[in-house]
Subunit: 334 residues, 2 copies
Amino acid sequence: MKVRVAVDAMGGDNAPVEIVKGAVDAVLARKDIEVILVGIEDRVKKELSNYTYPQEQIRVVHASEIIATEEPPVMAIRKKKDSSIVVAMNLVKHGEADAFVSAGSSGAILVGGQLLVGRIKGIERPPLAPVIPTEKGVSLLIDCGANVDARPSHLVQFAKMGSIYMENVVGIKNPKVAIVNIGAEEEKGNALVKETFPLLKNCPDINFIGSIEAREIPSGYADVIVCEAFVGNVILKLYEGVGSTFKRMIKQGLMSTAISKVGALLVQSAIKKTLKAFDASEYGGAPLLGLNGLVVKTHGSSKAKEIKNSIIQCVAFKEQQINEKIKQNIIIEE
Amino acid sequence: MKVRVAVDAMGGDNAPVEIVKGAVDAVLARKDIEVILVGIEDRVKKELSNYTYPQEQIRVVHASEIIATEEPPVMAIRKKKDSSIVVAMNLVKHGEADAFVSAGSSGAILVGGQLLVGRIKGIERPPLAPVIPTEKGVSLLIDCGANVDARPSHLVQFAKMGSIYMENVVGIKNPKVAIVNIGAEEEKGNALVKETFPLLKNCPDINFIGSIEAREIPSGYADVIVCEAFVGNVILKLYEGVGSTFKRMIKQGLMSTAISKVGALLVQSAIKKTLKAFDASEYGGAPLLGLNGLVVKTHGSSKAKEIKNSIIQCVAFKEQQINEKIKQNIIIEE
């Protein structure tokens, strides 16, 4: 049985060209996927006509409207009933798709996830949980934009859901969970962290290792990095910002003298490989966890490769029955 | 008239060797500085005996105790009356020194600053404000560790003090002030940012340019970056963490093949120069603003160069009469 992934053909800076290409690449790579491209039918079909692919693995569902990035999300989700995001989320809601992938408006995806797809019963806040590159591999940053001003009980649910995801989708046994803090000691932190710390410490289902200072995040010290959304968003974006500034500055450095230009030719491929390991787009999109179905947000600037990886990611999520595990491990015991 | 800088000879990972060396380098570089080295007299004098320097520019004040990094700060400041931090802060308090530089326990320095040196009347919370490297030069990150769970009025004072510091000490005319946020729009943010935003917008003394997303910090989009201490601490430490991970990974990349090793020799100096521009130790320490005197916290790992730069930084602070400007521009109008 195929995993059915609805894809927002109109979302992101490179829609529909890169989205459609990513969908085609995904079905060419995997036979166990059916992609439902949601968007303006004529434009999507025209793009599709450029490719050869197994016809039974891609179908198009028409949606006449597009939600722009700058639109107020709640209003957009309520008014634009025939937008690609709303139509695709309704497919998930009604069980016609298992998952939804979009590079469109973050706000609309977060709001739509809650209002249309709906939370799993007992989940207080569905967190956005991107995987970020580290020296050792990847870590899950949870929450990263969905819920500002969170409460301790939310963070405990984030820790549990994050552990289930890392163990079953990313394949890290007994993932190490840490809470972002401004010092290593238990008595450090703001009010939220001080209240949450003992709850995590006493939580039997997770491998809690204590606080993590931001300095240790890139080294891969923890597998699941728990924080409230404001802090998570700052971490994610600064990660990207410092990374791209470094890349630009090193390029300029390499081009600065005649000698360094010659050297640049020789080190080019080695440096590219290094920088690629720190490139978030290699790792697919960020799942919005705790919903009645899977919603994956990819970068607005996503190209075919990130779309393809995000679609493929949905297979592991479905096959590993992440939502069933969340229901069993989180809801029942609470 | 000389600027009198008390220096914690016993603070930090490399005390007293690097601290004493930094003090000597500072007085060799500038005739307008007098350094008061505070610490265990025998050890400090023994170190000093290795150098030739103008004797009238360095004196030693004995302090028999040392506050360790892991000691609970409030207790340490109260009990260890003869520690280098307490003795030096009392010199500032009693007007025998203009400033205090320490690479010792952050917690003890923050607590001691408030309890011993004391706040300028009207300043609610003295923020720690390090200068961080950017593509364009430097930005001031304020607050970065002193006060978690801050209120909007604190952030407004941070913005004003930060503007005065950047304009007068770092020399940036009409510095651009931005508040760290998770989106560019005014309606984005958590409760604290939403409340603070209109206050900053209506503040006549600062050049407020709105929100800054963490992604834009490394590019130098704003000169004064306002945030509460938890977020500021995460930004500062992640900056350092991503930077050092990148350095390590690029070094490994350069050493990965025979060809890249040859190239590495040619690009070495260009890359070093680039990475140096992103090295926080080039920029001296972080001032704790809003106190009756200047307190500067440098990295625990500070070597002579950072100590020297931090001592020299105190001259501009004194000469530009930063505290008088803070009193005039912040306190009187409120």
